[in-house]
Each structure stands twice: as structure tokens, then as C-alpha cells.
């Protein structure tokens, strides 16, 4: 709570209860949430909060580098508060998304590929997660 207000002030984000509420659903957890999911999580605290407001707030947070939008799923975006570079694994069975903290070595160090200048790189892995694999073995 204190930390969140601090983060806002550092970035000149006006502190409002809704913004704090949205940030609390993502920070400091490592969850990857849909907009619907975030909305559902703040609903108890703000019964009237609009879905459009959640979208607007997330857009602001994205610009201010407080959250990251990932598109590991084809159908909708996920949001997370981890903004340091890392990759993602998406289980095609249960739909769960996991962080992948691997250094995909040769590429990240380069600034250029085929003459294109790289600002960002994101690796998406797809497969069956460890939890789903365990269930199968029974």
C-alpha cells in the first residue's frame, strides 16, 4: 500500500483508490491476470468499478512501466507487475501461464538482427505444464 503510493508518486500518477486497488491485485504477486480477472478482484472493494476503468488504468500503468501486457494467449491479454525481461510458458491443457527465467543467450546481447534494431524480445513456450503432467501419470 505504502509502496504502491510511492511507485505512483515517482511516476507522477495521481493517487486514486481505484488505481491503488488495481495495482494491489498485481503487486507484488507474480500472477498473470486477465482484465476480467482484475476486475473481479477489485469488485468487492469497489462494487461500482467499471470494466472500462480497469482498461484505462492498465493502459496508464503500461505507459508508466508499472505493468506489462503479454499476449501468450491468442484470445485475450494478460497483465503482470513483473516488468523486468523474462519469458512465458503457456499450458495448452489447463491454460495456466508461468514465468520462464531463462536467458536466451545469443540474441539478447545483440542490438541488431538482419539490420533491424531490437528494443524488446519476448519468448513464448507452449506445452503441458508440470502440474498437468502429474495428473496424467495417475
Amino acid at each position: 500500500m505504502e509502496r504502491i503510493i510511492e511507485l505512483f508518486k515517482e511516476r507522477n500518477i495521481r493517487v486514486t483508490p481505484q488505481r491503488v486497488g488495481v495495482m494491489q491485485t498485481l503487486y507484488p504477486s507474480q500472477e498473470h491476470l486477465t482484465v476480467e480477472g482484475i476486475h473481479a478482484k477489485v469488485k468487492p472493494q469497489f462494487p461500482n468499478i467499471s470494466l472500462a476503468t480497469v482498461y484505462t488504468i492498465l493502459e496508464l500503468f503500461k505507459e508508466k512501466k508499472l505493468v506489462r501486457e503479454i499476449r501468450v494467449r491468442f484470445d485475450r491479454s494478460l497483465y503482470e507487475s513483473r516488468v523486468d525481461p523474462h519469458h512465458h510458458f503457456h499450458c495448452t491443457q489447463c491454460g495456466q501461464t508461468y514465468d520462464v527465467d531463462i536467458d536466451l543467450c545469443p540474441t539478447l546481447k545483440k542490438q541488431r538482427i538482419d539490420g533491424h534494431s531490437i528494443n524488446d524480445f519476448h519468448g513464448y513456450f507452449y506445452g503441458i505444464c508440470r502440474s498437468c503432467r502429474k495428473e496424467k501419470q495417475c
Copy 2:
């Protein structure tokens, strides 16, 4: 044309003019096209072809591994006929998408990461493409 019919027969895909038309927009070029783009390209040959038909055909081709759907852009899918593993660079200035034929070495060889079993991996690079960079220098 002959090659395309051959590809269809190999995979038990019923040969229809519309399917051949859609495949011709992607094969053997290396383009990355939106559904709208594919629809526009086949329109002259099939003035009545429905956008829904293009979606249906692409879905079939995807299942049969004739095309690949990529989601390097957040707003819509792109389709290509290159189905061998490779990655993509997306220019955030002009929106163009390029192939990236780099082996992201350590990860692809592994079958597992953190206990998850990997079936697929895709790297997305974002930045300014060589063509846009040239324009800036003037």
C-alpha cells in the same frame, strides 16, 4: 497450383477453388498476411468469397500444418505458409513483420523447463526495422 493440389491430397484436404485460391496467396511467398489481406487478395478471383470462409479455410490449413498463425501483433493474427520453426521481428514503426532465422540455442534443445514439457517455442522481437532506420538517417 499443381504443387498446392498435391499438398492438399497428401493431407486429405478436399480440393476446392477457394482453398486453392487462399493457399496461393500464401504459398510459396514468405509474406505474413492478415485475414483481411488474404480476403482482399482472393477477392478478384472469387468476388463472392466470404470472410468467414477465409477464416474456416485458414483454420483447416492450420490443423493440417499447411500454414501457421502468428500473434506478433496484439490486435490481429497473421498467417504464413512457412511452418518450419522460426521467429519474428515486428517493426513498431511501420508494422511490417520479418522472419528471424536464428537458433535460440539452449532452450530449443531442451524438452523441459521447470518441469513443463515444451511442444513449441516462438520468439517475438520488437523494434525499428532496417528500412525505417534508413529513412530516419536522411
